[in-house]
Amino acid sequence: MARRVSNQRKFVVTLIAWAIGLTIFFPILWTILTSFKTEAEAIASPPSFLLFDWTLENYSEVNERSDYFLHFMNSVIISLGSTLLGLAIAIPAAWSMAFVPGKRTKDILMWMLSTKMLPPVGVLIPIYLLFRDFGLLDTRLGLVIVLTLINLPIIVWMLFTYFKEIPGEILEAARMDGATLWNEVVHVLTPMAVPGIASTLLLNVILAWNEAFWTLNLTAAKAAPLTAFIASYSSPEGLFYAKLSAASTLAIAPILILGWFSQKQLVRGLTFGAVK
């Protein structure tokens, strides 16, 4: 039974919700607007909101200066690659934790999460030396490996909590029918887990896309993703707000669009087992 709400109340709620939504979104909107200003207008006081000479010169400048497509492709490959690799490793692990829990399952899970607490700045030098020796510096493969390892705990945990919600009797029935483990995972469990896997995938693509320490420090010209692209527009000598805004808009646009279109998917699985 749907709740009945008076139109008057609905109107008030609409007003408040839109005001808050726009406030939260405003910094992004402002960045997008600034990207269409000239550098002088970007710092003008008082600032103009819409009534300025809209210009595309920042975008053409950014386009001329850097290979956006290269950075974009690197970002796609690195974030998607690390997430898929992470899923391939995490699905069996999360499956066995959820359905054949041992005494130490919870400890293992917590230990996995605690590996995420290693501050990257403290281990850059050791990792850099390792990467040098394995020839992984400035390769997409190297970044895929690092980001997989960084996000693996989150992936395992998200999947674990999602798998735990899957009713056991279905698996039991499959086992009665003589399904092997492999069949069980592929034909029974996976289809049911698709929403959870999808949102895990999305969340981790976002996290990997925005990761800005390893991606900056382990790459040079070839494998650098969009985070490095941003670093080439921030804080030079001279005015940079407008160009930085244009670069930022280009860097966040793909993930923003992906996020918006997949919003429903993201929400469905983003429960971390918190919903009963």
Binding site: A93, M112, T115, P119, V121
Partner: protein, 305 residues
């Protein structure tokens, strides 16, 4: 329904689970465990080794064993306790804002209103913005006391512009980080809220319970697990907040916005003192694990049920 599934689950895990399935489970879990073990042990053991050396990256060939000097140096750093406090304040502050704000937003977005989908999109958007970008945008276009939008607003109202990053640096950073994480909290809390049994709510409404008591006795208990999850996940990320500090304040003025991660950065990548930075890294790991143990207790209690 829920009870029955749990019944079956425990049966599966209990005495009836065959040796075969246990072995298989161990086999399936091992790649993840081994990889993470490697990821943890290899850099960690190198870091432990470096932490006992006098090792500056810019002076190779001068490395020598110096025992616990690096640890002593890091722990007696006048910045250390301030950094520790700042780390805690940052985590707690952001958690507070995101959970209170997230709950309020979730309650709001759960109401029927026109343009729900669009508003939801607006609210989650900050989560997709790279931390460096959001820090740059906030610092330059909003908090700058001369050219920032807040300054213009203050001047428009005839007030003296407030210099956020100089006089409330930690608070400003908390604000920026909270803006980035608010969508995440909102999403999870909203999902939890939507699974709330509407009939139960309506029944209590008929019984004359007002909004306050409905919220405290029905909504909040229902969301407690979601809140725990938000705390856990965010804490992991918030302990290592770094880019936002680097971009906005460089940890200052003084040490007013330096956290442990930033202190380790200053040691290892500004000074290139690999020995000192490694010792700082190990201390940060130990501190993080203390937090992890606390969280584990909390989660253990709250997620078991």
């Amino acid at each position: 329904m829920a009870d029955r599934s749990r019944f079956f689950r425990s049966e599966l895990a209990g005495p009836m689970a065959t040796a075969h399935s246990r072995a298989a489970a161990r086999f399936m879990i091992s790649p993840a465990v081994l990889l993470l073990l490697g990821w943890m042990i290899v850099p960690l053991s190198m870091t432990v080794y470096f932490s006992f050396l006098s090792y500056n990256l810019l002076m190779p060939g001068m490395e020598e064993f110096i025992g616990f000097t690096n640890y002593e140096f890091f722990l007696t750093d006048p910045a250390f306790f301030e950094a520790l406090t700042n780390t805690i304040l940052l985590v707690v502050g952001v958690l507070f804002i995101t959970i209170v704000g997230g709950t309020a937003l979730a309650l709001l977005l759960d109401q029927p209103f026109w343009g729900q989908g669009i508003v939801r999109i607006l609210v989650i958007a900050p989560f997709f913005v790279m931390p460096t970008v959001s820090a740059l945008v906030w610092k330059n276009m909003f908090m700058n006391p001369v050219n920032g939008l807040f300054a213009h607003m203050a001047k428009g109202m005839g007030l003296e512009p407030f210099d956020f990053l100089a006089h409330a640096p930690l608070f400003s950073i908390i604000l920026i980080v909270a803006w980035q994480w608010l969508p995440f909290a909102t999403l999870i809390l909203l999902t939890a809220l939507q699974s709330l049994d509407q009939e139960q709510l309506e029944a209590s409404e008929m019984d004359g319970a007002n909004f306050g008591s409905r919220f405290i006795y029905i909504v909040l208990p229902h969301m407690s697990r979601a809140i725990t999850v938000v705390i856990l996940i965010q804490t992991i990320f918030l302990l290592s907040v770094f880019a936002e500090i680097l971009v906005t304040t460089n940890g200052g003025p003084g040490y007013a916005s330096t956290n442990i991660t930033y202190l380790v950065y200053a040691q290892s990548l500004l000074q290139f003192d690999v020995g000192g930075g490694s010792a700082g890294g190990i201390i940060a790991v130990i501190l993080a694990n203390i937090v992890a143990i606390f969280l584990m207790r909390m989660i253990g209690k709250n997620l078991e049920a």
